[in-house]
Amino acid sequence: MTVERGEFTTIFGPSGSGKTTLLNMIGCLDTPSEGEVKLNGDEVSKLSQKQLAMVRRYNIGFIFQAYNLIPVLTAYENVEFAIRLIDHSKESQIKEKVLNILEAVGLIGLESRRPNELSGGEKQRVAIARALVKEPKLILADEPTANLDSENAAGVIDIMRKMNKELNTTFIFSTHDPMVMKYANRYINLKDGMISADERRG
């Protein structure tokens, strides 16, 4: 399976079909027992844990179903956390980047709130901003709308789609939600760990 730069790809399939495992391997969190994973043409499945951490740090953003925000940090700080790992610019430049991305996901005005003061949709938007702020080549989202109602889910997908178009970031996300699937321009169906369908749209 090859994913091109800027693709907005959804991986669909029943529970246990291997969606999360596939995402984890693409995201260098897990290594395949067989076969290989290439990122930007470079083989990554044989890299050490340290090297994999560096690949994730500079190239990949993650969005989780449970948001995984740090509760003691504000929305701003949760986003800042990700960029501080790779960018050692001046405080003012970091601030500009973080506020820009928060504005892009519609969270300006909420930046000093902690996760417990945000709705589910807002939390997921913080998570998206955190994944996007370092402008990675690839964003992996594991069922990003599973914990959201349909309105918030649509909002989150809209933002992801917008970022995909504006920044040409590659998105791969898994979902059960047929509503989410329709936004994707590539659709991969998994069954028992195998790709049973791979379609590109428009």
Binding site: Q49, M54, R56, N68
Partner: protein, 411 residues
């Protein structure tokens, strides 16, 4: 720097647990500081009480007498002569000199008899060296030329004696014949050194010399010197004795304080054991906290790994948090310790709670006052922080070493 900030912010999570650990560390640290203050106070007071009421800073005697000094024998005594006395008195650093004739006696009040230590003193010289006169609670010290005695309050109570009562001291002369000293009590003394109160009878030197038939002889000279200069002054005295062809030797007060010094050494061991327990408590608290935090934050650790944080960076976050707890616990412990030591230094600790301290060889009467040991505060604080950092490393590595997939999905 952001990891540092995150570590500090994490201190605000699980407030109750963190406060409990901080409190436990503070309690352990302050207990150590209080114990250290009391022990040092006891040591200092014991040494002062030995120097100020029993031995002086230095004692001069013949080595043969010194070896058996506890036997209070009337052998190997020093024959007083002006030249020798002047020579000792004029030694640089010597502030006072008291000749003493120490002897065994039985004190008889007409009904009962008890063994005591008689001490013949020249009152003016004695007062230059010892502070006993400040603790006369009834009557007074006898005046020069007056033939009276001074005894301790405990001995007076035991023998039912009062000021102006007469006592009889049964003694053996140098020739081993019996003799008695019938003498009126001039004063009762209650000195901080319980030995003075319990079993010593002070009589004028000439009275003792006559009763013991030792002519113009004394057992030893007790010297008051500049404090802390004892060793240097002893060297000077020994040199001077050599030049005058005298066999006399000079001995530091420490040689008469063997039991207290042994107790002091035991104290250091005890303090070391207490310190180990204190640090162990701190370590267990920190380790427990890091493990619980790691278990509670498994998904967060997974997220950090997904963000590309390396293990040592995650370890650093936990270490900052543990260090924060160590610093807060240490500070709180030092503050509590400061308050406690202030109280102990001002009001002291009544040893009546633990019985008679002299039973344990501690020459202190009523209260032990704490002393300030500022280095102990900084030492404990720094050691506490180091222990907090070190004890957090292993559990933090355990946390950071989690498989990212298992951590993210909490499997």
């Amino acid at each position: 720097m952001f990891s540092f900030k995150l570590g500090l912010k994490n201190l605000t999570r699980q407030k109750r647990r963190n406060i409990l650990i901080i409190f436990v560390i503070a309690f352990a640290f302050s207990s150590y500081l209080l114990m250290d203050s009391l022990m040092n106070g006891m040591e200092e007071m014991s040494f002062d009480n030995i120097k100020n009421y029993d031995t002086g800073n230095i004692q001069v005697a013949y080595p043969e007498y010194w070896e058996d000094r506890d036997e209070l024998l009337l052998e190997n005594l020093i024959y007083l002569n002006q030249d020798m006395e002047e020579s000792i008195k004029n030694t640089d650093g010597v502030l006072g000199m008291s000749p003493e004739l120490r002897f065994k006696a039985n004190l008889n009040n007409g009904i009962d008899e008890v063994a005591v230590r008689g001490v013949g003193i020249s009152i003016e010289q004695y007062n230059e060296v010892f502070a006993t006169q400040n603790f006369v609670v009834e009557g007074s010290m006898f005046a020069p030329g007056e033939s009276k005695a001074v005894i301790g309050t405990s001995l007076a109570e035991l023998m039912d004696l009062k000021v102006n009562d007469y006592i009889t001291l049964l003694v053996r002369t140098k020739e081993d014949t019996f003799n008695t000293i019938d003498i009126e009590i001039a004063g009762l003394v209650r000195a901080p050194n319980p030995m003075i109160n319990n079993g010593i009878v002070f009589v004028p030197l000439d009275v003792a010399q006559e009763a013991l038939n030792v002519d113009n002889m004394v057992s030893l000279f007790a010297l008051k010197t500049v404090s802390g200069e004892e060793d240097r002054i002893i060297k000077r005295l020994v040199e001077s004795f050599k030049n005058k062809d005298l066999d006399l030797k000079a001995y530091s007060w420490k040689e008469s304080a063997a039991s207290v010094i042994a107790l002091s050494a035991a104290k250091k061991g005890g303090i070391g054991a207490v310190l180990s327990v204190v640090l162990l408590i701190g370590m267990l608290g920190i380790i427990n906290n890091v493990i619980l935090s790691a278990l509670e934050r498994t998904e967060e650790i997974g997220m950090m790994k997904a963000l590309g944080m390396r293990e040592w960076e995650i370890v650093f976050v936990f270490m900052v948090e543990a260090t924060g707890i160590g610093v807060l616990g240490g500070l709180a412990g030092c503050l509590l310790g400061y308050a406690g030591v202030s109280w102990l230094a001002k009001y002291g600790f009544s040893i009546a709670y633990v019985g008679d301290a002299s039973d344990f060889g501690v020459p202190i009467l009523d209260r032990i006052y704490g002393t300030w040991n500022y280095p102990a505060f900084s030492f404990l604080f720094i050691l506490g922080v180091i222990i907090a950092v070190l004890s957090s490393i292993l559990p933090a590595y355990w946390a950071a070493h989690k498989d990212p997939v298992k951590a993210i999905y909490h499997r």
